[in-house]
C-alpha cells in the first residue's frame, strides 16, 4: 500500500464549521471548511482512540456506495496525528452530490486535545497540488462534475453563532457593500497573495517592502512573523503573557487604532473591536499571533471584515467590505 501524507493541520484556532454527509444512506459529519488545506477526512468507525469516541464516525459497511482503495493516509494536525485509509464514496455538500469522492478515514487520532473540538473532520478548499497523494479535492470534483455555475466559491463569516455561509459556484451581493477588489493568487496551492505593507497610526510598521499572505478560513487569527506582530502589539498597547498570548485592557479598545493591511495598493482596515476577543474570565485577548516563518496568515478575523471570493477560474481572490 502507498502512504500519503498531508500538511500539518492546527485545530486550536478553528471555529467555523458546517455539515456534510457521506455514503448511501447518508452519514452526517460536522467539518471545518478550510481554505488552508485540500483533503477531506472524517473519523472511521474503526477508530478506537479517545478523540474518536465523542465524534461522528463513518461506517463503510453501512454505505452501499463505498469503495475501498487499499491506500493508507497519515495526517498530522496540531497536537497529534491521525493515521487512516483512503476510501471513495458519495459526498453531499448542501444540495450538491459529489460522487466517487476520495477521502480519508482516520483509524487512530492520538492527539489528546482533539477530543474537545466540536467538529469531526476537515474539508479542504485549497488547490489540488496540496492534496495528499494526488487525491482530487471536493471542490474540484464539484467543478469536474459540472455542478457549479462558476468555478469559484465565496465565504461570509459572521461574528454571531449563526449566519455564516460558504457559497459554492457564486457570489451573493447581499453579504457585502461596495466594489470587489481582485487580487492575483501568487502561489496556486494555498490561497496565497502578495501584501504590500501593514500600517498602524499612519506608519508602515510591518511587511515593509512586501510579504506573502494566505487567506485561511481554517485559522481564526491573524498571524505573522514575531517582529511584525510585536510591532503591532507595541502600537496597540498589548502585553505578552507567559504562554505567548497578548492581552490588553478591555476598556481601552475603543481608543486603539485600526490595523490596515495594504494589498495591491488598496487599504483593508481591521478595527480593534475586530482584532480583540473578550472572554468571561479575564482581560481582552489580541487575535494577532506569532508564527515561526515570514508568512502572514489572514484568518477569520480578517474574513469577518472582508467577504472573500476564492476564484479558481481566474486564480484570484476577491475582497469586499462584508
Amino acid at each position: 500500500t502507498e502512504v500519503a501524507t498531508e500538511p500539518l493541520l492546527n485545530t486550536l484556532d478553528m471555529e467555523y464549521y458546517g455539515n456534510i454527509s457521506i455514503g448511501t444512506p447518508p452519514q452526517d459529519f460536522t467539518v471545518v471548511f478550510d481554505t488552508g488545506s485540500s483533503n477531506l477526512w472524517v473519523p472511521s468507525v474503526s477508530c478506537t482512540s479517545l478523540a474518536c469516541q465523542n465524534h461522528q464516525t463513518f461506517n463503510p459497511s453501512q454505505s452501499s456506495t463505498y469503495k475501498s482503495t487499499g491506500q493508507n493516509l497519515s495526517i498530522q494536525y496540531g497536537t497529534g496525528d491521525m493515521a487512516g485509509i483512503v476510501g471513495s464514496d458519495t459526498v453531499t455538500v448542501a444540495s450538491l452530490v459529489d460522487t466517487n469522492q476520495l477521502f480519508g478515514l482516520s483509524i487512530t487520532e492520538p492527539g489528546q486535545f482533539f477530543v474537545h473540538v466540536k467538529f469531526d473532520g476537515i474539508l479542504g478548499l485549497g488547490y489540488p497540488n496540496l492534496a495528499a497523494d494526488g487525491i482530487t479535492p471536493v471542490f474540484d470534483n464539484l467543478v469536474n462534475e459540472s455542478l457549479l455555475e462558476e468555478n469559484l466559491f465565496s465565504v461570509y463569516l459572521s461574528r454571531e453563532t449563526t449566519g455564516s455561509v460558504v457559497i459554492f459556484g457564486g457570489i451573493d451581493e447581499s453579504y457585502f457593500t461596495g466594489s470587489i477588489n481582485w487580487i492575483s493568487v501568487s502561489y496556486q496551492g494555498y490561497w496565497q497573495i502578495s501584501m504590500d505593507s501593514i500600517i498602524v497610526n499612519g506608519q508602515e510598521i510591518a511587511c515593509s517592502g512586501g510579504c506573502q499572505a494566505i487567506i485561511d478560513t481554517g485559522t481564526s487569527l491573524v498571524a505573522g512573523p514575531p517582529s511584525g506582530i510585536n510591532t503591532i502589539h507595541s502600537a496597540v498597547g498589548a502585553r505578552q503573557d507567559t504562554y505567548g498570548e497578548y492581552h490588553m485592557n478591555c476598556s481601552s479598545i475603543s481608543a486603539m487604532p485600526d490595523v490596515i493591511f495594504v494589498i495591491d495598493g488598496v487599504q483593508y482596515p481591521v478595527s480593534a473591536l475586530a482584532y480583540t476577543e473578550q472572554n468571561d474570565q479575564g482581560p481582552c485577548i489580541s487575535s494577532f499571533q506569532n508564527t515561526s516563518g515570514d508568512l502572514w496568515i489572514l484568518g477569520d478575523v480578517f474574513i469577518r471584515v472582508y467577504y472573500s471570493i476564492f476564484d479558481r477560474a481566474n486564480n484570484r481572490i476577491g475582497l469586499a467590505k462584508a
Binding site: 500538511p7 500539518l8 492546527n10 485545530t11 486550536l12 484556532d13 478553528m14 471555529e15 467555523y16 464549521y17 458546517g18 455539515n19 471548511f33 488552508g36 488545506s37 496540531g78 497536537t79 455538500v93 448542501a94 450538491l96 486535545f113 482533539f114 474537545h116 466540536k118 496540496l130 457549479l148 455555475e149 462558476e150 463569516l157 459572521s158 461574528r159 454571531e160 453563532t161 449563526t162 455564516s164 455561509v165 460558504v166 457559497i167 459554492f168 459556484g169 457564486g170 501568487s186 502561489y187 496551492g189 494555498y190 496565497q192 506573502q212 494566505i214 485561511d216 481564526s220 507567559t242 504562554y243 472572554n279 474570565q281 508564527t291 515561526s292 516563518g293 515570514d294 508568512l295 496568515i297
Partner: protein
Amino acid sequence: GVTKLPLERGKKLREVLREKGLLHRFFQHHRYDIATKFPHAFSDR
C-alpha cells in the same frame, strides 16, 4: 448552480481549554506554531 452551505461559529479549542483550565498545560507541553500548517508556502525571503 449556486449553493449556500450555512456555517456555525463554535468555540475554539483554545477557548474550551481556557475554560477547563487546560490551556496553560497545553502550551507547556506543545510548541504551537500556526506556520507549521503551511509547509508548502513560498516566502519572499
